[in-house]
């Protein structure tokens, strides 16, 4: 074999195949957990990076997961929050029909909006699943010893953490993301407004999809300034929309060369060199 084909093979072998539920079913199998990718994670370039990082972690720990692929559709969250309950329920019913047909019982998602909607708003429409957010899954993997890190993967780098509204206040998940940072040996510097008092990034409630009303300031700039003022080199987040909003805020402050905005899945993938 010449050198080129060895490299090509190496690249090929590093390539991960992401299975769909339909594919597994064709082989007579079922995933242990469904990875709900979400619209941002599927289409938005920035959020795709998080999706990929997460899939690499799933692959690395050897979880039997699958995605719905093109059978996945918007959960309906932005429609609902924009007041269009009709469209929301249409979306929800369609998704529930798919999930139930595949007998899905456990779902993990990298988007706290999908997480909240499927977990809290699908059950009364006939879709009850055990839904977890990816930070909770990562914390479990760490606790079970399935995900370990070498000494000081982040070398005590200063990291701050932004609580998304839909993971934090909406569902009371504050500790899982922080435990991941702890495992990464990062120096967590909290913002003044954190946990229950965390400040919104400005994207929730379908705000992501329209301009803000008239005011003195954009919400994401207010939040990004607070995050930057901690002196952290990395702002960690758990939501594709928060990540976008804060990244824009960091750019606005012209700090994009000093401060990185990363999802916790990206931090973990980085620490593992995945």
């Amino acid at each position: 074999m010449d050198e080129r084909s060895i490299i090509a093979q190496a690249i090929m072998s590093k390539k991960i195949h992401v299975p769909t539920v339909a594919e597994l079913l064709a082989q007579g199998e079922k995933p242990d957990i469904l990875f709900w990718v979400g619209c941002a994670g599927s289409f938005d370039e920035r959020a795709q990076k998080v999706t990929k990082a997460f899939v690499k972690i799933l692959h690395h720990v050897g979880l039997k997961y699958a995605i719905l692929g093109t059978e996945e559709t918007c959960t309906g969250d932005p429609a609902k929050r924009a007041g269009n309950e009709f469209l929301f329920q249409m979306q929800a019913m369609a998704n529930i029909a798919t999930l139930n047909a595949y007998e899905i019982t456990k779902i993990v998602t990298t988007c706290p909006h999908c997480f909240n909607t499927i977990k809290n708003e699908y059950p009364s429409l006939g879709g009850s699943y055990d839904v977890i957010h990816h930070t909770q899954l990562l914390q479990n993997l760490i606790d079970e010893g399935r995900l370990t890190f070498g000494k000081d993967p982040f070398n005590g780098r200063k990291i701050t953490y932004h609580d998304s509204c839909y993971l934090g206040r909406a569902n009371g998940v504050y500790d899982a993301p922080r435990k991941i940072l702890e495992a990464l040996d990062a120096e967590l510097i909290e913002m003044k407004r954190c946990r229950k008092n965390g400040l919104c990034c400005g994207a929730g409630g379908a705000q992501m999809f329209k301009d803000a009303e008239q005011g003195k300031k954009e919400i994401n700039i207010e939040r990004s300034e607070e995050a930057i003022s901690t002196g952290a080199q990395i702002i960690s987040a758990n939501c594709p929309f928060c990540t976008t909003m804060i990244r824009d805020g960091v750019k606005h402050a012209q700090k994009e060369n000093e401060v990185e905005v990363l999802d916790l899945a990206e931090l973990v993938a980085k620490a593992k060199d995945l």
């Binding site: 289409f43 469209l87 249409m90 909406a170 965390g198 005011g215």
Partner: protein, 434 residues
């Protein structure tokens, strides 16, 4: 003379209680102008929440300075009002310090009440200073202009006047006890009013009796006036904080209730076997007026103490948008009062043709990120988001009044299964790049 006084007292007390209960009945009726909703699951948890949040003030102390002084006023006011019991007995029966037979317990209690009275006075001064000298911003938002600030000021001033009357009454009483005046038995201890006796030393017994009676009457009339002022005021929270926390929402804050009337419509379209064909098509979707809210939302509005903690944590308000969750609650209460009054005058079926949307603009409704910071901040678990969200649903579903970007987003979801204009067949393209 004493009999006339007793007679007068009974009449005044009766009138005060009558008007108070009338107003409370009216408020109750206004609250139930809202839609019926049964909230009585998980009773033991509800009692716990009430004990912790209302009685224990757990969310007040999140802001330590305000929390501390509020507890002073709260504890002081409740305990001192135990004395009202004695005042009422004395007033009706014509006795003086009728509970003095409790002996040393009584003496300790009276002394303790005096100390509390001073603490309440101090707290009131601090609160006035926070409003008018330090000028804490949340007390000076646009919705606080006029009545809202007057109301807050009246309450603080009335409380101060009541405490001052109590202390002066005790001061004169002491002098009368020392003089061995008829009817004024030696009872009580006066660690504070003791220092006030100097104000009244020059008077003879007859004048002192008149003074003592004046302060006594002033004190009880003040309390009865206050009782009747409270239902018109933000001070109603001293009663409603308790039921309001008991009826707290227990579901996750992120869960927005699915509208059952829409579920039925959707089922009729997708799977008629699941639909209830006898369910009449809904008259309207979302919240137009307070009658479309749950009664709990209106209870929230009547319980709101206008402290503005919600507004001061609201990301929209903090960045200069028009939305203020406190204003949402104030407008809801105002609307309930207006519609209630109109119904009193014209019959229960009457509707004045106005709505909550006349008070709350679309600009306010659109600015909400549904972040729940206001719900978290509220010391008595009020939920402004439910009202905002219900009104937004009305705008979207009934009026199709929404920003064009949202219309586009909805279109995309409907046609492309994502809020953006991507082809659904590209959804899994990212898998080729892992």
């Amino acid at each position: 003379m004493r009999y006339i006084e007793q007679f007068l007292f009974v009449v005044v007390l009766g009138v005060a209680i009558y008007f108070f209960t009338q107003k409370i009945k009216q408020i109750r009726r206004n609250i139930f102008l809202g839609k019926a909703e049964s909230i009585n699951d998980q009773k033991s948890l509800r009692w716990k929440i009430m004990a912790k949040v209302a009685l224990g003030q757990s969310k007040m102390v999140v802001r330590p300075v305000a929390g501390f002084f509020h507890i002073l006023i709260y504890v002081g006011f409740i305990l001192i009002n135990i004395e009202v019991l004695e005042i009422i007995i004395d007033g009706v029966v014509g006795t003086h310090r009728s509970l003095a037979f409790l002996g040393s317990i009584y003496n300790i209690a009276i002394g303790f009440f005096e100390i509390l009275a001073v603490l309440v006075l101090i707290a009131c001064v601090v609160f006035l200073a926070r409003r008018f000298i330090i000028k804490i911003p949340r007390f000076h938002s646009p919705e606080m202009k006029g009545w809202a600030t007057q109301d807050a000021t009246y309450i603080l001033v009335i409380e101060m006047v009541l405490m001052a009357a109590l202390l002066q009454m005790n001061a004169v009483d002491q002098l009368l006890q020392e003089k061995g005046a008829d009817h004024y038995i030696a009872a009580g201890s006066f660690p504070i009013s003791h220092y006030l006796t100097g104000l009244f030393t020059g008077y003879n017994t007859a004048s002192l009796v008149i003074l003592e009676r004046t302060f006594w009457w002033f004190h009880i009339l003040g309390i009865l006036f206050f009782l009747n002022y409270v239902p018109y005021s933000k001070h109603l929270h001293i009663f409603l904080a308790f039921p309001n926390t008991w009826y707290s929402r227990l579901k996750p804050a992120g869960e927005f209730t699915n509208m059952p009337e829409i579920t039925n419509e959707v089922n009729l379209m997708l799977d008629p076997s699941k639909a209830d064909p006898n369910m009449p098509p809904p008259e309207k979707f979302g919240v137009n007026d307070i009658t479309d809210l749950s009664w709990k939302n209106i209870l929230d509005a009547y319980s709101c103490t206008e402290c503005g903690r919600c507004t001061s944590s609201c990301p929209a308000n903090l960045t200069g948008k028009k939305l203020s969750p406190r204003k949402i609650m104030m407008d809801t209460r105002d609307r309930a009062e207006t519609l209630g009054k109109a119904k009193d005058e014209n019959g229960l079926d009457y509707h004045d043709g106005k709505s909550l949307h006349d008070l709350i603009s679309q600009e306010e409704l659109l600015a909400c990120t549904t972040c729940n910071a206001c719900v978290e901040a509220c010391p008595i678990n009020i939920n402004p988001v439910e009202i905002i969200f219900g009104m937004r649903q009305y705008q979207t579903l009934e009026k199709s009044a929404m920003p064009s970007e949202w219309a586009m987003m909805n279109n995309n979801i409907e046609n492309n299964q994502a809020p953006w204009q991507f082809s659904p067949s590209d959804r899994a393209n990212w898998t080729n790049e892992v």
